[in-house]
């Protein structure tokens, strides 16, 4: 394998980390929508923390290795339309994903408060419509990046 092949492999592995953590977050979001069990919410929060680390690796790796590849391969240029589109979608996905993460961190903090005070959770207390919306936008942006990368429109 050449150096470029290794960079490509790391780029693709980062993309897998990105999508895998999106799957993880959606499972947790769906599982906690009607949840009132505080302990279970905190347990899912630990899983979410792991997902947060994986998605960080995914976002970092896709952009760093992706831009590296764009400079490495003679057939691609950083200003190619499909690469610029991917970078814009990456920014949108990262920003909305970060907003969703902040929403769910607040909910996790609330669950920890409830646990320490011994109060029960109300139905829907662990649900965030705005968090779901942000996660949906982020997921859509990542799906569009995948489509853009495979079809490479204009290349």
């Amino acid at each position: 394998m050449s150096f470029g092949d290794w960079i490509l492999a790391l780029h693709v592995l980062s993309a897998f980390a990105l999508v895998a953590s999106m799957v993880l977050f959606w499972v947790l979001v769906i599982a906690t929508r009607t949840l009132t069990d505080v302990d279970a919410r905190i347990t899912y929060g630990r899983v979410g923390d792991l997902g947060g680390k994986v998605i960080g690796v995914g976002f970092f790796g896709t952009i760093v290795f992706g831009i590296w590849l764009a400079f490495l391969k003679d057939s691609y240029a950083i200003w190619d339309g499909w690469i610029v589109a991917a970078i814009i979608l990456w920014v949108i996905g990262g920003y909305t994903g970060g907003r969703a993460g902040a929403e769910y961190q607040n909910i996790l903090d609330r669950a920890r408060e409830l646990k320490s005070s011994g109060e029960p959770a109300q139905p829907g207390e662990f649900r965030s419509s705005s968090g779901e919306l942000m996660l949906a936008i982020s997921s859509l942006a990542i799906l569009l990046i995948l489509i853009d990368m495979i079809w490479k429109p204009g290349a």
């Binding site: 394998m1 990368m149 495979i150």
Partner: protein, 152 residues
């Protein structure tokens, strides 16, 4: 991402490749999620059930989509006309076939474990399912490396 799997790929290969890659990503996500929830469950019945159902309802469909896409792109690219597959395709087939067997074992073992949760048992079986899921996840990442870097 997968953009650079082939620099000058015929456009009619794109959709099968998309199906293959998306299925593989869902498979990896399902394995990561299911195994993580089982790992963090610490005996909590609700979490153990969620971990198992994630393997069944996310990882398994992801595997099926990935495998259909794999055969589709394999056929479309004309690899079946060659006597021997290149190393990277060989790695992919080995991981997919052994991975399928292991996923099925994990689902059967975990399914028995979930049934036994109502009587207070099943924790060991679900732990076994979790270990298998982590193994398949590790193997899947090796396959991703092979598919993208194409060693050999």
């Amino acid at each position: 991402m997968t953009s650079m799997l082939a620099a000058h790929r015929p456009t009619d290969w794109n959709f099968p490749l998309f199906v293959h890659v998306l299925g593989a990503m869902i498979l990896v996500g399902g394995l990561l999620t299911g195994a993580s929830i089982l790992a963090f469950a610490r005996g909590d019945t609700r979490s153990l059930r969620l971990g198992y159902w994630t393997l069944l309802a996310v990882a398994l469909p992801g595997y099926i989509v990935m495998r259909i896409g794999a055969q589709w792109i394999y056929s479309r690219e004309g690899w079946e006309q060659l006597d021997d597959d290149p190393t990277w395709i060989g790695i992919g087939f080995i991981v997919a076939d052994i991975g399928a067997l292991l996923v099925l074992i994990a689902l059967i073992v975990g399914g028995i474990g979930v049934r036994r949760l109502t009587s207070g048992g099943g924790h060991g079986l679900l732990k076994a399912a979790m270990v298998i899921a982590w193994l398949v996840l590790a193997a899947a990442l090796v396959a991703v490396w092979a598919m993208s870097g194409k060693p050999g």
